[in-house]
Amino acid sequence: MAKLNLLLLAVLVACAIGLVTSQHRARKLFSDLEREQARARALDVEYGQLQLEASTWALHARVESIAVRKLGLHAPDPRRVRIVRPAEAQ
């Protein structure tokens, strides 16, 4: 009887320690997850800012003025443009 009790006690202690360790590991993993989610949000914010920057640089009025003034480009005369339909291209 005493032996069985001792055995059960040992099992109980092992279970208790197991519970504590797994809880600890769960919390650790959760905090990692939380950190990664925060990073994802920060990256999303950065993506928004970069998108904003890209849009500002690629403003059509700006692109056009650079194309015309700096690079001396102009829209081609319609007579020099040939429109190719996908069916003809094949």
Partner: protein, 575 residues
């Protein structure tokens, strides 16, 4: 040392042992009672207190959705910023620190003093919406009583070009104008909150429960094409400035899908810096302003006449002597002629011809025509302040009113309504519903006119932009254009002002298989020219050509340069 006798054990009094035993039992009983009390009666309170040591409720802010153009380019993006606030009672800093703080925030030290003057207040904003970098510098100063709060600020990279369509949000990140207001519910999202367990270092280690599920705002893709929009705004701005006009509006519609590809207004404003705004800048004239459209309405009168079967495009109409009097009111033509065919009524923009055609028809039918193309009715468009226009019930029409309505006076429409109505001619009689959100699918139209009448009017509208018509400046190289000019006297205090005009042009191209409808309106051109054919038609041509090229629409006309017409002689018309 004498030993006490061991023989006779000292008999302690019995009560002493009993006393100790009782005391022990009583002590245990007290402990048990206390523990029972704590475990049962006070348990909720204590558990709450315990949880408060490690569990926290945190807010999950919702980010506002982005607004994109049809090609995915950003038109409105929210990005986090910080607001700096203070508890005036707690603030302690030296003069040097105050100067540093003031220079970081771009304020004067005495402004800071002013804000902090009332020390009884609990919350004072020092500066709202500073960049995260500045906020970090402020935090690095480590000042007592100065706090930060995370907020979002909306940026509009398109600036004044897309200002009227996109609208803007207020400082609290809620839509106030335009699409931002119309789609507030889906863009805004819902902030949530959740209960978590934090460890000693403030890291979240466990999610206990979600109190309110938050939801980020969803992105919105508009039907606007950034390139066409930019082209349209540039052309409109140049035309308004060149003609020293008060304002202008322009709209480009995809005939097949009903999508609005561009919607421009001038004067405009910069939504990123709204310090000095006037109502005139803010108004989306295309959608909210009404005007008497003038001759651009004649095609509808003619379409109704064709539909009735009483006339054909070649039916001759007597317009001699170039004027006509109904009840003390005289209608004039700019190009008097004795006889005009129905086609020529459109081509030459004859008021007398249009009035005669109108008077031959019952007023109910004419009212029905105008109503069926959407006049006098709020357009089905998710946009705040969309105007219905004015179309009076036909029972109260007098003959003169029916005659003037034939050429677009005594009825008011918005440019949006006018452009939409022209889809009837562009789509073989179908009126298409408009949308500001990208659909990319063919829209189902509502049949309001027979295909044969619509095609007949299309041919007439093509004649109107040929030499001999009123709008030859609307022609472009490579594509056949169809459209109608309009020059209306503006109403002022209930009477028509003799020297104030509103020039307009509405049309579509390519005429063989219409793809785009473009409508232009220039308000009070005052640099000499004021006819629709001289002021609005060139803007139409410029935008139409650029848009067709950007969309890669195949040519349907020989590629010969357009010779420019004489100095506006042909473009003249009276309405």
């Amino acid at each position: 040392m004498s030993k006490p006798g061991t023989q006779g054990l000292v008999r302690l009094p019995v009560w002493r042992a009993r006393f100790v035993a009782t005391a022990l039992v009583a002590a245990f009983a007290a402990l048990a009672a206390r523990s029972a009390y704590l475990q049962t009666v006070r348990t909720d309170f204590l558990q709450e207190k315990g949880e408060a040591r490690y569990s926290r409720v945190i807010e999950v802010p919702a980010t506002r959705g982005r607004i994109l153009d049809r090609n995915g380019e950003a038109l409105a993006v929210s990005t986090p910023v910080k607001s700096i606030w203070a508890l005036p009672g707690d603030v302690e800093f030296g003069a040097g620190q105050k100067r540093k703080l003031a220079s970081l925030l771009g304020m004067e030290p005495k402004d800071i003093d002013k804000r902090l003057a009332d020390r009884s207040r609990d919350f004072v904003y020092l500066k709202r919406q500073v960049s995260p970098e500045v906020a970090d510098d402020v935090a690095a100063l480590g000042l007592k009583g100065i706090h930060q709060q995370r907020e979002y600020r909306r940026y509009y990279p398109g600036g004044e070009v897309t200002a009227h369509v996109v609208g803007f949000t207020g400082v609290d990140d809620a839509g106030q104008e335009g699409v931002e207001l119309a789609y507030q519910a889906s863009l805004g999202g819902k902030p949530g909150s959740r209960r978590v367990i934090k460890d000693r270092l403030g890291r979240i280690v466990e999610d206990v429960e979600s109190i309110r599920a938050g939801q980020d705002g969803t992105d919105l893709t508009l039907s606007i094409d950034g390139k066409i929009q930019s082209l349209a705004y540039g052309a409109l701005k140049a035309a308004v400035e060149e003609n020293r006009a008060k304002a202008g509006g322009l709209i480009v519609i995809d005939v097949r899908t009903g999508e609005i590809l561009a919607l421009a207004n001038y004067p405009s404003f910069n939504p990123n810096n709204r310090a000095r705004l006037t109502g005139a800048q803010l108004r989306n004239r295309v959608i909210t302003d009404l005007f008497e459209p003038g001759s651009t309405l004649k095609p509808f009168t003619v379409a109704l006449a064709l539909e009735s079967g009483k006339v054909t495009p070649s039916t001759a109409i007597s317009t001699a002597p170039g004027s006509m009097t109904i009840a003390h009111y005289t209608i004039h033509d700019t190009h008097p002629a004795a006889w005009l065919s129905l086609s020529q009524v459109i081509q030459k923009s004859s008021n007398v011809g249009a009035a005669k055609v109108a008077l031959a028809m019952p007023s109910a039918a004419m009212w029905g025509m105008f109503q069926s193309v959407g006049f006098g009715e709020v357009p089905q468009l998710d946009f705040p302040g969309a105007a219905a226009g004015k179309l009076r019930p036909y029972k109260s029409w007098r003959p003169i009113e029916q005659a003037t309505m034939a050429y677009g006076h005594g009825i008011s429409v918005s440019l949006l309504q006018l452009a939409r109505a022209y889809t009837v001619f562009a789509r073989d009689g179908e009126l298409v519903p408009l949308t500001l959100v990208k659909t990319g699918t063919e829209a189902a139209g509502e049949k309001v006119l027979s295909a044969s009448s619509a095609r007949a009017v299309r041919t007439m509208l093509e004649l109107a932009v040929q030499p001999g018509g009123t709008g030859p400046r609307a022609r472009i190289m490579g594509w056949r254009v169809a459209g109608k000019t309009g020059t209306a006297h503006k109403q002022e205090n209930g009477a028509y002002a003799p020297d104030k005009y509103l020039a307009s042009f509405a049309g579509f191209a390519p005429a063989s298989a219409p793809r785009l409808v473009v409508a232009v309106m220039i308000d009070e051109p005052s640099a000499g020219q004021y006819y629709g054919g001289a002021v609005a038609a060139p803007v139409f041509a410029q935008v139409m050509q650029g848009a067709l090229r950007l969309l890669g629409v195949p040519y349907d006309a020989p590629l010969v340069p357009i010779e420019s017409p004489g100095a506006g002689e042909d473009a003249r018309e009276s309405t």
